[in-house]
Amino acid sequence: MTQRSVVTLGTSVLVASLALSACGTRGGDSGSDSGSGSGDAKKVAKIGVIAPLSGDLSALGKGIEHSVELAVKQANESGDLNGWTLEVAAKDDEAKPDVGKNAATALAGDKDVIGVVGTLNSSVAQSVQPVLNSAKIAQVSPANTNPSLTMGADFANAPKRTYDNYFRTCTTDSVQGPFAARYLFQKAGIKKVATIHDKKTYGQGLATSFSEEFKKLGGQVVEAQTINPDDDKYDAVISKIKPKAPEAVYYGGEYPQAGPLSQQMKAAGLNVPLMGGDGIFSGEFIKLAGATSKGDLATSVGAPTEELESAKKFVTDYEAAKFPEPYEAYGAYSYDAAKAIIEAAKVSLKDATSAESAREATVKAMADVSFDGVTGKVAFDQYGDTTSKVLTVYKVEGEKWAPVNTEEFK
């Protein structure tokens, strides 16, 4: 029986390959340069991407990949790379630390790689950082918000840079949380809130820094709860919060949980706005939360896209490039991250003979990078964090996020 199925398999493969012959063409310019691979060919350097290209978060990961491709394509077209050509080497991390580490190891082993854009998840970054650091490859993350990645385990009291090759273009939790607290307390006049978070690095960080600032301002945090991101029913938590009658709920986490949470909160009669960070600033949130999400709030980094010239250009360029997936939440940051590496590489590659020998110089040059990017001014402080601290509060109005307040955080 096994034998027969193998025969069937063999014949079908054979038939399939014969069918292909009908529309074949002879391979292009072969023969002309057979045998010679080296020589005076173009000098190539690669920018790696480590992001979840498959799995649940692949939408975000693909957006990162394509945005980097866009930045690299534009840099190659600009022609001021001192004779170097840039390429993108994208690796999948499946949002898992293990896989991410393999991807980083593979990129570190590729002698052409000069910098890496990634990762999406802070947890993956933690296992990617040491690998890239030992290979002295600059890493710029468009999405990691955990402060400990740049400032070490005890970031609040004794900040200490752990990996000098690591930078990021997004702000950390310690900026977004307080910004939201100030908006609620000072602008919206809300004095009593409850907080919920999903216990993940991102959510917990946001909720903690929010609560601290809110209490400092004189507000009252009447209840602090956590949810398990695998859950999809939150009435136990809502039942605990409701009797305390908060005027708003601050949620640290991402939209897949925030949407249903908002919906279930309101269905249970807790009719107060839900506020969150850039993790819920997505159209998906409104779809999941339904019509009752009107009035919910979110903070996001940078000024609204409609108000920034460079951002509008990014959007039109991205659309013109006809990528199969949209740029999503982190596209703009990824574009800026890639551009930061390109700017640094322009300095380091100038006199370099190989990409590998320019790696260390690239990391050094990162500190001096400064340009106007899609998300605002891009430059890095002594820890590798972005210096840009402009944030915007958005509100759900008519099934859309509408900007209500843009300000620089001080």
Binding site: S17, G27, K96, N102, S127
Partner: protein, 565 residues
């Protein structure tokens, strides 16, 4: 279940026997020669197969297959006739030619898809195809011969050892070659080649003979296998990419062998086994020098390792204790629930919901590399001029660990304890009636298996440099179980193969990573349906699943007799 094969009747075969043999020989020879010709017009694909008299990659594979075909043919009639008294060359040739046909078709498909159409196939490819077809047709008409008893086939002792050494060297070479293929097509073709080769060798009875040889030189075989594994990092030229995968395979395999004690030997289905690996890893992380570590005490690593293993085995005892009352499916669900409890507990113990031990979902990152004495595992060391990087260091320590685990496994398997487990697996009540301490042995299986997984876990923590709860999902337990089931319950070789397949495939075949889990689920269902005993089945197991098979029963008896002798 056995469908009628579209095979030829014996009469037709006898009538055309004279034509079959030359055809098969000619086909094999053509295949052998084709390797020297140009296969593709395009020189950029499959590692440049366009140059004549310069065989590379797939061409060499084709030549090896052709050479085996010629050898088989000559064993049937010709100078090597004597070997044909032992090996069933007719069956071997048939299986080989089927494999070859698939292989050649795949090569042509590869050329067609990579270079754009079959026009790009040059004469070598077509000749190979003709050769494969001739072989296929010819081999159908080669009649089977009367065979001698396999276990009486002997060659001098030194020659047998040489065969073992050569086979191991071939395995090392093939593994290194396959792993270094970044091109997915070459990887697939390499696999097709190995399958074709093993099909031919297996059907001809070569592996059975090899099994007897291995039986006679057990220690040589084990040593050779370890030597090969030990030499592997030296084939990598200091590249860490494959070593990183190799270390993961080893950790996975070590854990799977531990699980094999519980499932394969004692017959207790454990669906939460990853928790034991996890508890080892968490202990390793909490007692490490990481800035996020939550336990102040930093003992030397060997002590940590022991603590991790002991904690894991305590969990093993706890989870094993319900076995007194529940068994079978119930037990499976208890272990599943336990696995979930472990994951949720690791998720929760962050200071908000329970004591601060695990940092919750964020886990414990930044675990420094191992340091034993003055040897730091993070450094690159030069041995004989070959640089061995960070992962190679971990590879060696894991190799030691897995050697230890295999030793424990085999010693247990061949002891009173092992026989007690098998007795429990077969019939618990009968075993109890015969005076086997059922409860004690079950607990021992759980604690022992967990101990081994815990050991592996402590190393994993340092190797990964981070631990987090989402590494210990139910799916990971299912993967472990799949490794055991796929490879063959109760065998070491099977589990090693299963672990390698399950960890290596997704890394090398990234393009189907999206469909990985789908295929995994399908694989489990199909395996249970068609080959429940696994790829490398222990004979006893095989008999359990196919108790109607008389000849198999005789064979098993033979093996046992030989064991006694």
């Amino acid at each position: 279940m056995r469908y009628a094969l579209p095979t030829l009747s014996d009469e037709t075969r006898a009538k055309h026997a004279a034509k079959g043999w030359p055809l098969a020989l000619l086909g094999s020879a053509l295949l052998l020669v084709s390797g020297l010709l140009s296969w593709s017009y395009d020189d950029r694909i499959l590692g440049d197969i366009s140059i004549r008299f310069w065989p590379v990659g797939v061409q060499i594979m084709a030549m090896v297959l052709g050479a085996l075909g010629v050898a088989f043919a000559l064993m049937d009639r010709g100078p090597l006739r004597r070997v044909g008294n032992w090996l069933d060359v007719a069956l071997g040739l048939r299986a080989l030619s089927t494999g070859v046909l698939v292989f050649v078709a795949l090569v042509l498909a590869a050329i067609a898809t990579e270079a754009g159409g079959l026009v790009n196939v040059n004469e070598g490819g077509w000749i190979a195809l003709v050769g494969a077809l001739l072989m296929f047709v010819g081999s159908r008409f080669v009649p089977q011969r009367e065979l001698g008893q396999m276990h009486s086939a002997r060659i001098p002792g030194w020659a047998e050892i040489l065969v073992i050494a050569l086979s191991m060297a071939a395995v090392l070479f093939l593994a290194a070659y396959l792993l270094n293929q970044d091109d997915a097509w070459l990887f697939v073709l390499g696999l097709a080649f190995i399958i074709a080769l093993s099909m031919g060798l297996a059907r001809s009875g070569f592996f059975t003979w090899f099994g007897h040889v291995a039986q006679r030189h057990k220690h040589v075989l084990t040593l050779a296998a370890f030597a090969v594994a030990f030499l592997f990092p030296f084939t990598q030229n200091g590249s860490d990419a494959n070593m990183s995968i190799a270390t993961q395979v080893l950790i996975f395999a070590a854990t799977a062998i531990g699980l094999n004690i519980v499932v394969g030997l004692a017959g207790l289905l454990d669906l939460g086994y990853i928790a034991f690996l996890g508890s080892g890893a968490y202990i390793g992380a909490m007692m490490s020098n990481s800035a996020f570590a939550t336990i102040g005490w930093k003992p030397p690593f060997l002590v940590t390792m022991l603590i991790g293993a002991i904690v894991a085995s305590i969990f093993g005892l706890i989870i094993g204790s319900p076995t007194l009352r529940v068994s079978g499916d119930y037990l499976a669900i208890v272990t599943l629930a336990f696995g979930e409890i472990f994951r949720l507990a690791m998720f929760n113990l962050d200071g908000n919901n329970g004591p601060k031990l695990t940092n919750g979902p964020n886990g414990i990152p930044g675990i420094p590399d191992l340091q034993i004495g003055s040897f730091n595992f993070g450094d690159t060391h030069n041995v004989f001029g070959i640089p061995l990087g960070r992962f190679s260091n971990y590879y060696f320590i894991l190799l030691l660990l897995i050697g230890f685990i295999i030793l424990v496994f085999t010693r247990l398997n061949n002891s009173r304890i092992g026989r007690g487990w098998v007795a429990i697996r077969e019939d618990e009540r009968a075993a109890e009636a015969m005076g086997v301490n059922v409860f004690g042995l079950k607990l021992l299986a759980f604690a022992g298996g967990a101990f081994l997984a815990g050991l592996a876990g402590t190393i994993k923590a340092h190797q990964d440099s981070a631990v987090s709860p989402d590494q210990y999902l139910f799916l990971e337990s299912a993967f472990l179980l799949a490794a055991v089931v796929l490879g063959g319950m109760g065998t070491i070789a099977g589990v090693l193969i299963g672990a390698t397949i399950l960890k290596l495939m997704p890394e090398k075949l990234r393009f189907f990573s999206e469909y990985r889990l789908l295929l995994f689920g399908l694989l489990l269902v199909l395996m249970m349906r068609f080959r429940p005993e696994g790829l490398v089945a222990s004979r006893r197991r095989q008999l359990e699943f196919h108790d109607e098979d008389e000849s198999l029963a005789e064979e098993v008896e033979d093996w046992h007799l030989e064991d006694v002798r």
